[in-house]
């Protein structure tokens, strides 16, 4: 059963009737430059990645199809649901007979999609939370008191913001 989505992401739903105007070798090169992206051309479409993937039966576009789109330089890959529904479990990467760092490549695709404004809203909120507080979740003090646990050690949020100002975390879309 495929997903139907109203979100900005996951809009590329099927190859059927799809027309691709551009096969962009620069896009393929860009992806090859990602963390783990160097072995892209080694994929021979055995689909072992999709066989072990926990969301294969829940997405419109499966991992091995995503890999082929990368090789063909199809930027539409950034609009597939496979990008943001990858659970990051690393099963595909662990099992790939060609040693391709598939999961790490998908992380890179998420980065590229995020810069283009294609991401689930939860990620925008998480970015703001990390910048504002340096944490994803705040401690629950009453529970800690009940268990006799000390307070969680402090840190200087200004250090975190200094780093993120330098990496441009809050301005990724402007690049």
């Amino acid at each position: 059963m495929a997903l139907t989505m109203e979100e900005t992401w996951g809009q590329f739903k099927t190859f059927e009737g799809a027309k691709f105007e551009v096969l962009d070798p620069n896009f393929t090169r860009e992806v090859s430059g990602l963390i783990g992206g160097q072995d892209l051309t080694a994929c021979f479409q055995c689909a072992k990645c999709s066989a072990g993937c926990p969301v294969s039966d829940k997405v419109n576009i499966q991992v091995h199809e995503l890999m082929r789109m990368l090789l063909f330089g199809l930027k539409e890959v950034l609009q597939t649901d496979m990008v943001w529904l990858c659970t990051t479990c690393y099963t595909c990467q662990e099992r790939c007979p060609q040693g391709i760092s598939i999961t790490d490549i998908i992380f890179g695709l998420k980065n590229m999609a995020f810069r283009r404004g294609i991401a689930p809203p939860g990620y925008l909120a998480a970015r703001k939370g990390l910048y504002d507080t340096g944490r994803l979740y705040e401690p629950t003090d009453w529970e800690r008191e009940d268990l006799g646990l000390d307070e969680v050690p402090e840190f200087d949020i200004n250090d975190i913001r200094k780093m993120f100002d330098k990496t441009g975390l809050m301005k990724l879309e402007e690049e």
Binding site: L3, I35, P54, V55, K58, W84, L85, T87, T88, C89, Y90, T91, Q93, E94, S101, T103, F107, G108, K110, N111, F114, A119, P120, G122, Y123, A126, R127, L130, G134, R135, L136, Y137, E138, P139, T140, E143, R144, D146, L147, G148, L149, D150, V152, P153, E154, F155, D156, D159, I160, K162, M163, F164, K166, T167, G168, L169, L172
Partner: protein
């Protein structure tokens, strides 16, 4: 000799699984593992920040590693997410000079430097080294406990980064759990992701993955699920509340942390182990646990 680590808690444990921390501390104390506070620790960034911007993620986890390093300490964490993130960043910064330079440029603005000399371990890894000592301390066997043990992904994969156990046939934590007299049952979807990283993108898909997992655990005849990660535990002890199969049958199973199971068998105080804070009722196994 006493082992000493700075303990990296991450965000999820102090937020919703303080019982994991208290049970970890109790077990550590009983085994003479010294856990030092990790002053200045922020979030590790985890797969969330890695998904948004890898450079920021490298800097965020890089800063945490550099902090422990500046104090000459090794790091231990009870969270798969933190373990995966810290190990992964450590791996990238070791392998890739360009990334290391970039990160050190960023860290320079706050007076730190990543050198790559600190060891990053998961708490279960430390426990596995002490298994002979644990065996000697079992005073209250948990006969009848049939555990569906969920190792989680980032403890074992990618093996080039994690390297703690066999990525396809992990057995080390199962060995620990079976020291208590419990059985770690084989179950078809044991190695499958719990789905928790998808809670931020699609709760529906996350729940469907959890549903498949729980059906598999039920089919294996397990009477509880055990984890070593607060992110996975969120699925089994929070999201699973009220979860049913297609016929409306409950899929809830008591969910315990590995440190709670070991702690009980070692005769530690159930209150200290925080068992009252487990959300899925423990009633069906209360007698086995002696609570």
């Amino acid at each position: 000799m006493t082992e000493q680590y700075e303990v990296f808690l991450g965000c999820a444990i102090p937020n919703r699984f303080n019982n994991y921390e208290s049970s970890m501390r109790a077990v550590a104390e009983a085994l003479d593992i010294e856990l030092l506070d990790f002053e200045g620790a922020s979030c590790c960034g985890t797969v969330v920040l890695k998904s948004i911007d890898e450079t920021s993620w490298l800097a965020m986890s890089g800063r945490n590693i550099a902090l422990a390093e500046s104090r000459g300490h090794d790091i231990v964490t009870p969270c798969n997410g933190c373990y995966g993130s810290l190990r992964d960043v450590d791996h990238v910064l070791h392998e890739n000079e360009e990334h290391r330079e970039t990160v050190n440029q960023v860290l320079k603005t706050i007076g730190l430097e990543y050198k790559g000399e600190t060891r990053i371990r998961h708490f279960v890894e430390v426990l596995y080294d002490l298994r002979d000592k644990i065996r000697e301390k079992i005073v209250r066997p948990l006969e009848g406990l049939r555990i569906a043990f969920h190792p989680g992904c980032h403890l074992i994969r990618p093996s080039t980064v994690a390297g703690f156990d066999d990525p396809e046939l992990p057995h080390k934590v199962d060995e620990l759990l079976e020291l208590t007299g419990a059985v770690s049952v084989p179950w078809t979807l044991k190695l499958r992701c719990c789905g928790s990283p998808l809670l931020i993108a699609s709760e529906d898909v996350a729940n469907r993955i959890l549903q498949e997992k729980m059906i598999s655990a039920r089919e294996a005849g397990a009477n509880c699920v055990v984890t070593n990660c607060p992110a996975c535990h969120t699925q089994f002890d929070v999201q699973a509340l009220g979860l049913t199969d297609e016929d409306g049958n409950s899929l809830e199973l008591p969910a315990l942390f590995v440190t709670q199971v070991l702690g009980l068998a070692m005769g530690l105080d159930p209150e200290t182990l925080g068992l009252e804070m487990n959300r899925v009722p423990l009633d069906p196994i209360a007698e086995i646990l002696g609570i």
